[in-house]
């Protein structure tokens, strides 16, 4: 409710039309995860990986593909919510397409890097999410990530897609 003293109200309208576009950057199953769940439009993914007492490096946990044949995209990962990470001696997520780009790091149960730098995905190309894991005890840890996607060198609009990684 407006101030009781106000006597004049002016209304200025902005009609916003909202249209749907097909995703250009999508998730595909990798070869190192299990129990993949990928939404039908491939903009949301969940995957399980196995942690052991010794350091394990999974090179192809999840594929990220640029479907466009004329638009380059840039992407980065960001930590959203986490659960049960006290047992994670090391959880490091990379983008990998030759040269790894470290995006997220959890060390001895503490988040030491919560987002990565922007990396490009060329037209019709695929990059991979790779993960290095070492756990101290058995259990389940959940790391909920966001994949930020922008077109070329622009900064907006920004598409934010969800990747959930369960460490068994």
């Amino acid at each position: 409710m407006a101030s009781a003293q106000a006597s004049t109200y002016n209304y200025y309208t902005a009609f916003t039309e909202c249209n749907v576009s097909a995703p250009d950057v999508i998730f595909k199953t990798g070869t190192n995860g299990t129990a993949y769940v990928i939404s039908m439009n491939k903009t949301w993914a969940k995957v399980n990986v196995t942690g052991t007492l010794t350091e394990t490096y999974y090179e192809y946990v999840l594929n990220i593909t640029n479907l466009s044949n004329n638009i380059n995209y840039t992407v980065k990962l960001e930590k959203a919510t986490i659960d049960g990470i006290g047992r994670l001696t090391n959880f490091t997520a990379y983008f990998h397409d030759g040269t790894p780009s470290r995006q997220i790091e959890i060390s001895n149960g503490t988040v030491t890097q919560s987002s990565g730098s922007w990396c490009s995905i060329a037209t019709s190309a695929t990059i991979y999410i790779s993960i290095a894991i070492k756990v101290s005890t058995s259990g389940i840890s959940t790391v909920d990530l966001r994949l930020h996607v922008v077109k070329g060198d622009t900064t907006s609009p920004e598409i934010v897609q969800t990747v959930t990684i369960n460490v068994n």
Binding site: A6, N10, A14, T16, C18, T155, I159, T162
Partner: protein, 207 residues
């Protein structure tokens, strides 16, 4: 012959009743007392300005505009960090209102608008769906107003259930400068590229 006379008599009776009714209606008295209200035009208190992300169609007096965004995606959040701007011409109190939404296919899972005061600083915005984006050219402060809506089943932190609209932000003291409108929208899982929705957004200015 007798029938014809009977018919004529019926018509006469009907006409008589109608005339009596007319007299009764005409007997109501109306009094007219005149007053004069002079209506004059003043300049709009705000001007819509095209944002950095999308071309807006703005009326000649800059008090009305339409904007079309095309990047809503299923199961993902799309953020326009400069969807639209407005310049405040006269200081006052302003609130942002979602007056109505036409979304017959329920393509919008949740949507939220934020208003930032312009400046030379970046500011991080934590999204309803988690994650952060950077809003550029702000005064360094957080949003001065925000309002949103959601479909049944979505994160209620977007704002108001779509069936309960309109919804308005709290009012903020607006100074004569430019403000940026940020839009966060999540597409429903089955939304199609052939579908669209329209949001009737209003700025309400009051002194």
């Amino acid at each position: 012959m007798e029938n014809k006379l009977r018919t004529l008599l019926s018509v006469k009776v009907a006409l008589t009743i109608a005339m009596v009714s007319l007299v009764l209606v005409a007997a109501t008295i109306y009094y007219y007392y005149t007053s004069t209200v002079t209506v004059s035009v003043e300049a709009p208190k705000i001007n819509w300005v095209t944002g950095g992300d999308v071309a807006a169609t703005i009326s000649g007096n800059k008090s009305y505009c339409t904007v079309s965004i095309s990047k809503l995606q299923p199961n993902a959040t799309t953020v326009y960090t400069s969807a639209l701007k407005f310049t405040v011409v006269a200081a006052g109190t302003i609130k942002l209102q979602i007056a109505s939404v036409t979304d017959s296919n329920s393509i919008i899972w949740g949507m939220r608008f934020y208003i930032y005061k312009s400046g030379a600083s970046d500011k991080n915005l934590t999204l309803v769906d988690g994650g952060q984006v950077t809003v550029g050219s702000t005064d360094g402060g957080g949003p001065v107003a925000q309002v949103g809506f959601y479909q049944t089943g979505a994160n209620t932190n977007y704002g108001t259930l779509i069936g309960s609209l309109p919804a308005g932000s709290t009012g903020f003291a607006a100074t004569t400068t430019t403000y940026i409108i940020v839009l966060e929208a999540m597409g429903e899982e089955t939304c199609q590229t052939t579908e669209s929705a329209t949001i009737n957004l209003r700025l309400i200015w009051y002194a």
